[in-house]
Symmetry: C2
Subunit: 108 residues, 2 copies
DNA sequence: TTGACATTTCGACAATACTAGTAATAACGT
DNA sequence: ACGTTATTACTAGTATTGTCGAAATGTCAA
């Protein structure tokens, strides 16, 4: 995951509706959820929903799959892994930062 | 770290210059770096730099401290911790997702 | 092939973000 | 007090983002 990809992913998640969509899809699991259901749950007009899921998809955070008339969207857990890895590697200058390293400020 | 805070943090990092600034400050360590040096390194007009560091600061990702005439900015590692925690807790529906869980898709 | 359903594309608009020049503020030395 | 340095605040212009209605597309069943 390079800086450009990371920025796209951050940008995709940096919106109330898109973060809600992503969390909904994480909850839904690998099977995903059809676009219509997502729109209902979040409370978005169909065209607005498309706008946002496309943003998430361009960022590589979710995938699309057609099942008959419906389009299912599902979270791509691998991409989220990459994002967490990027943050972990860049948040404390390389040291792991995940649990209780907030105060490891000896590196000057 | 709630959703709103998270969105602010993502938004702050979702920009080429701001991500560069943040990474520079992580590299600089807890001592931080004066605004002028950051602007030189990133190649940004002073007023533009202020715009971006304020965005990072509002999001709680960096701190400000005055030393004589210079204003030092430093990465807030605790905030990054919170962000990573939020992602970890929300990326795989609660399961740890940091290292090799990308393919654990049996939960349906 | 017609009709219904699910979703996307298009177009227009309002709101927000980014950039950078210029003016103002803060700190310091003389 | 004055000039210099470091930085921020103000302002305006341009670009991007978000919203949603209407029209178009793809899918299916009869």
């Amino acid at each position: 995951m390079d800086a450009t990809r990371t920025i796209e992913a951050f940008g995709a998640l940096a919106h109330e509706h898109r973060l809600a969509i992503y969390r909904l899809l994480v909850e839904a699991g690998p099977g995903g959820m059809p676009a219509g259901h997502i729109g209902e749950r979040i409370g978005l007009a169909p065209s607005s929903l498309t706008f946002h899921v496309q943003s998430l998809q361009r960022a590589g955070l979710i995938t699309q799959r057609r099942a008959s008339r419906q389009l299912f969207y599902a979270a791509d857990f691998g991409a989220m892994n990459g994002l967490v890895d990027y943050l972990t590697k860049n948040c404390c200058g390389g040291a792991p930062c995940g649990k209780s390293n907030s105060r490891s400020r000896k590196a000057a």
